[in-house]
Symmetry: D2
Subunit: 253 residues, 4 copies
């Protein structure tokens, strides 16, 4: 029998790639999808295969019309049933005041924040509903819970994402689809996102200080959370969970 | 001295038009803007003038590039300083399950729900900030607080709107701009929205039953709330307020 | 016909006393109740009478068994129908870490935070329900919304208070009783609470700096909010509202 | 080396007892504490021992002064270090309107809802903080999130509990103590709580219908959640999580 597929949208060297590895290790066929850096993607795939797992990589621009939809149908046809969908596309475009935030950027935030998830749901949820099972794990952020002054685009995008997770849950949970909204409420030890934002030197310093004391969220630990959520019995599902380092204040404090 | 302007975006025969009347009655120059029904707009304008107020009407498609921006600059130039901006554009497209909700509709929800507000803020907030004062009154809905199963587009739009109100508040409150997010958590006695959704006959029945017992939110009462909010002293501003009939359960119940 | 009564529990020289003055000015018979400082109470009463209003003062320990209950029945019998109840008893006992917070203090927090409100509701809500109308205005705090590290007693008390307001609203709104939970999310310019906490000198300095720039919540403005809420038409009631100075971050930021 | 202790307060034949079993199976010394039913307690202890685990049982009235405090010190002295504290004391006293809810009952709700947790924290958190590690797993309920009309006592109690979890987290997370607030948002398949509330016959019917289709939360699955939470790496802690059957609406819907 074919393996079940875990498709990770936004599979860089942070949460996405690490979640893919975890699911591959646990017996899933991992499909990794990202927009750029073919080499980085190959490294992740090779790593999974070296460890005895199965995986395929896909390069794709999620904002392109029909792109996510085709990918899903292709995987369902050629590789296997997508049992777990990890929506890990970020919508963060940096800390910017209103006059620094362009219309284009705001629209991109929406594309990544909620439109992409909506498009994926439109295609995949009916398929999962027909099977009576499936899991959507949606990475989210502090910005989904409260709006800070330099997060106009990001918070709007994430606030929409959170509500969309709720509407999808409201329609599809009873049909067997588990949707979880994961609030990543802290800095993640992720070279491809935080690392690129800060630059190599600053990121290394952060790892050497805060990171040394477990003050950065470890992608491998987030992957444990995602895997745990995917295995919850349907009598006892979690819809929303927050994750932060012990040393950080919660978003409400 | 020229009157202060209150610009209402989405000025139909419900909350929008009634709020415009209220501000006109209190001495503001009311600018009413809507997408369709020139005749309905004229009736509102005439009504205001008959009652001794000043008002102008504008027909405009808010989703058209540059439309809201031009309107604001035109009013600032030709009529007067916009002191109060009422963002009353709805993003409700009906109760629809996921497969009934089109990509186009979802995008429209975003256009009305948050992109329009963002565009207006981009143009008007710097002007208000320069003056050190101004008010944004943003009509919102139950769907901003929780996602129901047939509200995929609306809840995503409104969840984004709510977070955007928070980010704008976080950046601009200290610069003297009061932003209020008003959660209209119940059915409104509004011919142009609820009335059109239900059809003439059903709407009349609703008014004759539920409405007779004050079970429909009255636009005139909402207008009282908007006016009250606009007059709050800056030592004691409200950012979020909910409004519902006494006979309704709150959204969380 | 006898005047309608507004009973303020916790009527010091801050929100409570100022709300009482406002309602007296608007034609209510004001009943002011506090635990200590008979002289301060007399000053408030005299002030109201000098301005043409009617008022009576009551000294009472709210934690004493039966005290609040007797007061309510006495006023209903001797003065008039209590139309508005302002529950303004604070439960703040200062910024204290866990080891600084005693069991006694924690219990006191509960007594003031929610038990007192429960007792008042037990006696007064059935009376109001029989009349089909009445208003409960409940002063609340940031601590009702999120728990900070030195607020163990206060946040527990206020978190309970908020939920109690919701349960009371859920049972009694449809019977004509308007319950509003008012989140005072900032420092109030109140000699009897903040003033005593800081001491005379520090409090004056705060008024001369932050206060000069409208950075302290003015009791008179809060009183406007309370009066506005009490006059809302039952088609359009507000259950929850936040109040903070323009210059403060919201509790979620 | 002595085993680490997991102390469960409120260890009946539902979540409490099942969580104790899970931790015992994973190598903890389980301490089970409950108020009544010595026989039921013995059965749980025997079951754990039969399966190769270690456990002790304690009968105790949590509302008695000093009771929880003595128990904790006794266990720390005689059995071992309490690494995990499960606060599973319920505060539900049934669905009652305001006039059906007594002062005594309301006070009991507070005793169980938050005062007990506060007392436990006062004694145990300093001990855990000195060790730099420890976990508090706090069972909570829908009533912590919203107040329903027949939950005056319960919601007040649970709203307080939730805020207390936040204040404890705010003070102690950075000292190595993980506090998790678990929102059990549905009916639990628990003979000692739901079973007693419904009576034997109705409970069996519920199990035969809803339960057969995984519509009741299974204590064993909740135990998985608790164990997972207790093992989270401190870089990636969860403070709040919700649990409900796939077939139920979320509390906000």
């Amino acid at each position: 029998m074919a393996k079940k597929v875990c498709l990770v949208l936004g599979a860089g060297a942070g949460i996405g790639g690490t979640v893919a590895k975890k699911f591959a290790k646990e017996g899933y066929y991992a499909c990794l999808c990202r927009r750029s850096d073919q080499e980085g993607l190959n490294i992740l795939i090779d790593d999974i295969k070296t460890n005895g797992g199965e995986a395929s990589g896909f390069m794709l621009d999620a904002t392109e019309e029909g792109s996510l939809e085709s990918l899903i149908l292709e995987i369902e046809k050629d590789i296997g049933e997508i049992d777990v969908l990890v929506y890990n596309l970020g919508a963060q475009s940096g800390m910017k005041l209103l006059n620094e935030t362009s219309l284009k950027e705001f629209e991109w935030g929406w594309q990544m924040g909620s439109f992409g998830l909506f498009r994926v749901a439109k295609v995949l949820m009916p398929i999962m509903a027909k099977r009576g099972s499936g899991t959507f794990l949606v990475t989210s952020a502090t910005a989904a819970m409260r709006g800070s002054k330099n997060q106009h685009s990001h918070a709007t995008a994430m606030g929409g994402r959170r509500m969309l997770c709720q509407t999808l849950n409201a329609e599809f949970a009873s049909q067997g689809i588990h949707i979880a909204h994961v609030i990543v409420d802290g800095m993640v030890d992720a070279p491809d996102t935080l690392g690129k934002m800060l630059g190599k030197k600053l990121f290394q310093e952060l790892r050497d200080t805060r990171g040394k004391e477990d003050g950065l969220i470890l992608p491998a630990e987030v992957a444990e959370a995602y895997y745990y959520l995917s295995q919850q019995h349907r009598s006892s599902w979690t819809h929303e969970i927050d994750i932060r380092p012990y040393s950080d204040n919660a978003w409400w404090n």
